[in-house]
Symmetry: D2
Subunit: 257 residues, 4 copies
């Protein structure tokens, strides 16, 4: 049977990344069961017509435990099986953490969106983890100028770090929730908790700019140059649009271009 992908290509154009995307699979991350959406591919040199994509699907069949080692191993096997010089992956997944309400102590679960970007060649190996932390943000301007009340809203802080382990997720999330938010969010709050959360957030009013700066101040001493970028989006309660602030340390994560 003809192998057209294996034909010689004479257009002289090599491609950086060719593969499959929107592939949904079950994974285990930090001993918790969840699902992931995967984009996996390899580079294609100028002389070959195509890659054998079914090999990528096959490799994903055996991919269950998700951590830095297994991701790099998957990239290594992709690179070898498809005889490519580079392989890369983007994984979107959902991570869960138990959290006790601040006064009642009742337990609840919060979900965090995770993006992992990894790339492997003979000369380079990179892995980035992007963690999205939902928080409460109270506006300092609204608080200062109003006789009572202050507008507040849910926000989402997106932290991107290089070369951390999945074991670091809990630490990063804890730091961001405690030090960068007006208050952290919870899934179960009784009235005693709601009073505490409301008052703490009000005492601790922060602009979207403060949230990004406080994230950097809190993470830099611990993660140093592993910190790539910090972004926060506040779903403004007084507007029908959102507010954002964005910082990048690593030019690769400069989304302004």
């Amino acid at each position: 049977m003809i192998d057209i992908q294996n034909n010689i290509d004479d257009r002289g154009v090599s491609l950086h990344w060719v593969g499959i995307k929107d592939y949904t699979l079950q994974v285990v991350i930090n001993n918790q069961h969840t699902i992931a959406n995967v984009q996996l591919g390899v580079s294609l040199d100028a002389t070959h017509k195509g890659i054998h994509m079914s090999r990528l699907s096959q490799l994903l069949q055996d991919f269950h435990v998700l951590n830095n080692e297994t991701v790099i191993d998957l990239l290594n096997r992709s690179k070898e099986l498809l005889e490519s010089s580079t392989s890369s992956i983007i994984i979107n997944t959902t991570y869960f953490r138990k959290k006790n309400a601040p006064v009642s102590g009742l337990s609840g679960t919060i979900n965090y969106s995770i993006n992992i970007f990894a790339s492997l060649s003979s000369s380079n190996r990179s892995i980035y983890h992007s963690i999205c932390v939902p928080i409460t943000a109270v506006c300092p301007c609204s608080k200062a100028i109003s006789s009572y009340g202050a507008h507040n809203q849910r926000g989402a802080i997106q932290i991107t770090l290089s070369d951390i382990d999945i074991d670091d997720y809990d630490n990063v999330i804890r730091i961001i929730e405690k030090q960068a938010s007006s208050c952290e969010v919870y899934s179960v709050l009784k009235r005693t908790d709601e009073k505490k959360v409301t008052e703490k957030a009000y005492e601790n009013a922060k602009f979207v700019e403060d949230i990004v700066r406080d994230s950097i101040i809190a993470l830099k001493p611990i993660y140093g140059c592993k910190l790539c970028s910090v972004e926060c989006t506040n779903f403004e309660s007084i507007h029908n649009h959102n507010a954002f602030a964005y910082y990048y340390e690593n030019e690769k994560f400069n989304m302004i271009r």
Copy 2:
């Protein structure tokens, strides 16, 4: 050239709605230019194999001005051109309104999502308009139990009405914004406005349940049995999940089933 769609079908199954969807087009609504996503189709009786879908695309080429008359006319022409007993359409579009800030008077524009559902047969003609109004919601419980502050968030009220005109949109939106919200949202707010909005919302704390009830109380005297359903979703600032309340008058809009 063979016309397979015109073949006789012997499975004995008539279909309620067959056509095209995710069709994007430019429309004019209330003299404003916007774009719409359309799902348009007709019924198929048991004896025919298929409909001629290209006729639906053709009809949409001439559809520019969007109002009740043009929608019904489009359904009528669809029904006739495709020789069907019933034709139906769902249109999603974006509606804009100018709104002045409450103190500075500065002008800004707010966007509203609109869904129109219409159906036409020889015995029946229905048209429903669903308007989504973004608002501010301050939690009365949080306000009552906290020494200062109160959690608040953006909410979205979805109002479905039958047989209203597009001319009614402004009126429905104004009523909902004034009477059902803790405060309306704006796109331009200077500090004097932000103080006003913050304080007004705080004075006017409402649960998601209150917002739905106040919507009904405000709309019923004017729209009577034209009111089909009211739903509100609050994007809770202290949680990573949302709160909702839902009411239906017309069983067709019972989404609980």
Copy 3:
């Protein structure tokens, strides 16, 4: 501490469904680990100001195994804990099935979107399962009129059934894939498989109308009046819009209104 939700309401409006939505949690369905997005709520009678939403979040903390019994039990406990007459839930989740390639026999996994709608009152108990099955669809018109080739595309068949068990999912999916599609889709296909799949689909050309009718013909003898609705959307390869066909047996699933 004041319990505002417990106040008496004098607006005289009862609400059909009040609760929490967009709540993400880990669940086990048919022994497989996956995640779900949940909307859970209860009715609110006219005399009470609000429901105690934190109780719903608390109940979800203990919800892990997902099947008809556990869903009804959750609704029962919601109803009792919140002293309501009715409780209802919508669950969106992802279901996985192993499937062997038709010639090589290689194993791959396909993901299916599932929606569950359930409601419980003293007089009524309903549970609906909606299963979305991705398939291949080859256009019979394109095949008949063209000297070679035929346009084809991925389609998605949405089947809604009442009172089935989660154990029925595999059976419904198998029937739909075998009897209603031009060909089923796979995640791993080697060249021998791709030849088989391409030829089988071409031999088996079906309009979106045929797919819905064949789904009904295949499911009715087995599921009878449990069949509520069938919808198919084809992501047309020759258009930038999609084609659809829709049938409902149960008026509750009439989306035309």
Copy 4:
């Protein structure tokens, strides 16, 4: 009234981009009316606590005609009004083109997603346009190995170019549709057209890799180093996942990182 944003900040952290996002507005592009979603912001130096976001909303009130000059002018005014060194914008919009069916000559309209990224500082001025072109893709492997038929699907080619004008959109789209696809897509196709389109696509089978390479080969002689990146995603008809190929000339558009 206190101006908290104007306070001095002592954390020593400057931010690259601060502003508003998910702002929906009506715009005119190439004389056609459409709507856009905008993210607009400015840099914030280390010594200031916050930016005055309402000024960005105000500037957007006067933004109607969308082209390179008006975008740069908006950035210039943002930079000046907010006393910042850099301003940047991302605009997502929908562009429409009339297209005649290949045999019947009937007219139809196709919608194209557009992303514009622009940035302005005293030393730098950049503007990138990303155009998404829907196409038909027939698989050459499936065609070669099968006795009849060939799997095909809709694909989407995303082309990013720097420093082009909106007047270039039509040219870029025409080139991509003619030279990079198996066949272009249409919104109105009668049977004579469908035969032509089916056969042309079959004669012109292309892998996702071919589509990206042919895009580069077609665009490079005309646009030279203005070409930043090319990506194609094929919504595979025989899988429940998609295939993609990706090429970048400008490291800023390296999404692999």
